[in-house]
Point group: C2
Chain length 470, copies 2
């Protein structure tokens, strides 16, 4: 609990933009996934970096936990206030501060959402390519190191951030990076804060790298006889240097959900859904080269289209895969998994996972950003059914073990939060201790998003090795 | 000085692979630039990670400085033993441990050089794209966050490293990253050690991201009426999304040096030297689109060629720019500068620099990786002429100030070392303190490459804010 005197001090900074109302606390204690709610003690709605700094100073002096909040769409419980404290909602810091067309960058506040940014950029001919699906905030995307369908071409959010402004755990405001396209002047602090999940500070401004909107875009889907054939076609495509803008796998169970709940009429086989960006000529060439690879691997139904309506239908379906999958079982909730392996082991990883799910009583469609070796299952469980949740947790744990055994990572893009913390020792060994040492150096009191990502330090109570995974 | 007892202990690990011979100490106390020699007290030639770990443990227990050594080609005095200590020469750890064609990666030891790697990869159809010019070691390239002519297309060395093995300042061995193409499982330790210049540990193994050798490569050079016109053409090229593999500026003074000392016969005007990678068809299309932009900006002489001999001649000239420049003044040595600015400010930065040099008594050709906003001058001075060296230092200092005023960085790719440390406060403000806090957390005794990059901590004597710049 935040002591009343501390609440008064926080209120002296924010006035009525500090809330302890039950609806505000409840809303900021929820997540989009299956984790139990954990509401904060108060919610702040700052409007400036100076206010964020003032709040953090107050909390640092009193060892009150501080948790950042964007849109609440993260999937591993990143923003749950598991030790209570102050939730800092960046919803009012959502402006585009500058668009520099000549340098292809934009300076934005962390509460701006991906779709809001896209709308602001439309007239410039530029776009920000990172697309995790959800309409997340840019600050949240940076903090979880988001990626998504376009990463195979444009990189993760890390590759598309030039500079940050960060409020440190003691309230200091620092800037990392610059608007230059590269630098070798010192430690990569930008890279350190990206993916730190708010455990090292709060991001209060981002300088984003933009890309020119492609002159031409084409999309296609095609069916394969097996996941292995689809993955082999993907590997050959990547090796041949075709600059795929997206290359997504939907397995047969996912296709069934598209047919049943997203108005599709596709063969119930594994599909690749792809997109090409470039000039009219290069898109045609890329599509033809890809088509030849598809044919070599027994793929069928490949027809590419540059018509915006065809493309929109395809990607709406992919983006709504989560909801189509949920609809496979009425009233179900999903445990979402997220592993990434070297692409040469991807077919094996997916096929083992498929067999493991099929041997369980659960339904679990598989979708993957296969150009990156990353895939997800959505394990459908009845809400409140502890037995099913345990089975789903075990399937998820075996996926994590599989990822590590095959030389990969327990999280391709969803992050650690509370859900993957139990696997950090297995993945990083002594590297996890190094993360803890950095954490303690910058946040000795352990106030920034405690209970997440790093081993528990002396500052906050908790089990030393993190919670159980899954 | 390393005490005799400590030398004996080190020798118990390495036998005659520990050297205190004068030639070895002198060779490892030199750098390729104008900094005064600073030899170590001993040089170690380890062959395994376990040996490196043992050496570091011995030095940690006795607070003996440890300095990594690759090929000695860094330009900011990174490997000078300014506080004495043990130089760890990775020359015997120079193997390719694995090439994974399916995953397009390779696992290598840090002493392997860029050209050795290229030779090993030739049969695979893959290549490692980062090319800083010098035949540097991969460990050195990682530690200085190298980039170079191909960065505009393929990124810096950071973008092309998937995983590292590192010996920490207390001798622990940790692994960062994995062979997966992306991850969001925790802090980006790989990114932290890349560019840390050996101040946080010694890199003992690298997993590199490879790329397919392009089916077709074409190159060209063309002349412009002014640096401004060449830069404007560059900006339009980048904005239009033409995937340039290289786009290099040589100013009129540089072209003069090519004509005089590299067998060229070019108009003494600013030139762009470019390369295109792709299929026969895409290379043709890219070259034609670029040619149209050149014409719009009054460029002349643009003729592209896919003949390997034409291309080799062009890039041999560019790579030898350093020696051609030196030849402009008999017996001269060069102070090399390296700033990077937002590309919209690049013409301004280069033109101001040109005027500043022309107003001085020195000759200074300018070359630039202009697609990234990065450029260098080679300020030619008479060895031992302190007056000229002071003038060169002042020109370099004004370049650094110019970079910061225009929103850029004091080092695009050469790093901090001892040469740029005096500018770190100006560039990073409180961010430099954060670097120091991370350094102290991982290396509390301050033994790893002391006197470089970070503010001096309590561990090692020295001025708190680093030496003077330049």
């Amino acid at each position: 609990m935040i002591p009343t005197a501390a609440l008064d001090t926080l209120r002296s900074v924010l006035g009525d933009r500090l809330s302890v109302s039950k609806p505000d606390l409840e809303q900021h204690g929820q997540s989009e996934s299956h984790y139990a709610p954990a509401p904060p003690d108060a919610v702040a709605f700052p409007e400036t970096t100076a206010e964020v700094s003032a709040l953090v100073r107050i909390c640092a002096a009193r060892r009150i936990p501080v948790i950042g909040w964007g849109t609440g769409t993260s999937l591993e419980g990143h923003s749950l206030a598991v030790h209570g404290g102050l939730c800092v909602d960046f919803g009012r810091m959502n402006k585009v501060l500058a668009i520099n067309a000549g340098d292809m960058d934009a300076v934005v506040q962390p509460g701006l959402t991906r779709e809001e940014l896209d709308a602001e950029l439309r007239a410039s001919g530029l776009f920000f390519p990172v697309d995790p699906g959800a309409n997340a905030s840019l600050g949240g995307m940076a903090s979880t190191r988001a990626s998504g369908t376009t990463t195979v071409r444009y990189g993760t959010v890390r590759d598309n951030i030039r500079a940050l402004e960060v409020v440190l755990p003691d309230g200091r405001i620092v800037r990392t990076g610059s608007r230059a396209r590269k630098t070798s002047a010192g430690y990569d602090l930008t890279g350190l804060f990206v993916g730190a999940e708010g455990t090292l500070g709060l991001i209060t401004e981002l300088t984003l790298r933009l890309h020119g909107r492609p002159e031409s875009i084409a999309a296609a889907a095609c069916a394969f006889g097996s996941v292995g054939a689809a993955v082999d076609a993907t590997i050959e495509t990547i090796q041949s240097g075709i600059p795929m803008a997206r290359i997504e796998l939907a397995d047969a169970v996912t296709v069934r959900s598209f047919n049943a709940h997203a108005g599709a009429d596709m063969a119930e086989k594994p599909h690749l859904m792809v997109e090409f960006h470039g000039s009219d000529q290069s898109v045609r060439e890329d599509a033809e080269r890809f088509g030849a690879i598809v044919a070599d691997h027994g793929g069928s139904g490949f027809e590419w289209s540059a018509r915006p309506e065809d493309r929109a239908r395809l990607w709406r379906m992919r983006h709504n895969a989560y909801y189509a999958a949920l609809a496979l079982r009425k009233g179900a909730t999903a445990l979402t998994t997220d592993i990434c392996v070297p692409i040469s082991r991807l077919a094996e990883a997916i096929e083992e996972t498929r067999r493991d799910i099929d041997a369980s009583p659960l339904v679990g469609p598989i979708v993957g950003h296969v150009g990156d070796g990353n895939f997800h299952t959505l394990l459908l469980v009845e809400p409140g059914n502890e037995c099913e949740m345990r089975i789903a947790g075990e399937l998820s744990a075996r996926m994590a073990e599989r990822a590590l055994r095959l030389g990969g990572t327990v999280s391709g893009e969803h992050g650690v939060g509370i859900g993957k913390r139990g696997y950090m020792r297995a993945e990083h060994g002594g590297g996890w201790d190094v993360m803890g040492e950095i954490k303690r150096a910058l946040d000795p009191a352990g106030i920034m998003n405690p209970g997440k990502l790093v081993p528990d330090g002396p500052g906050v109570a908790g089990d030393a090795e993190g919670g159980a995974g899954g």
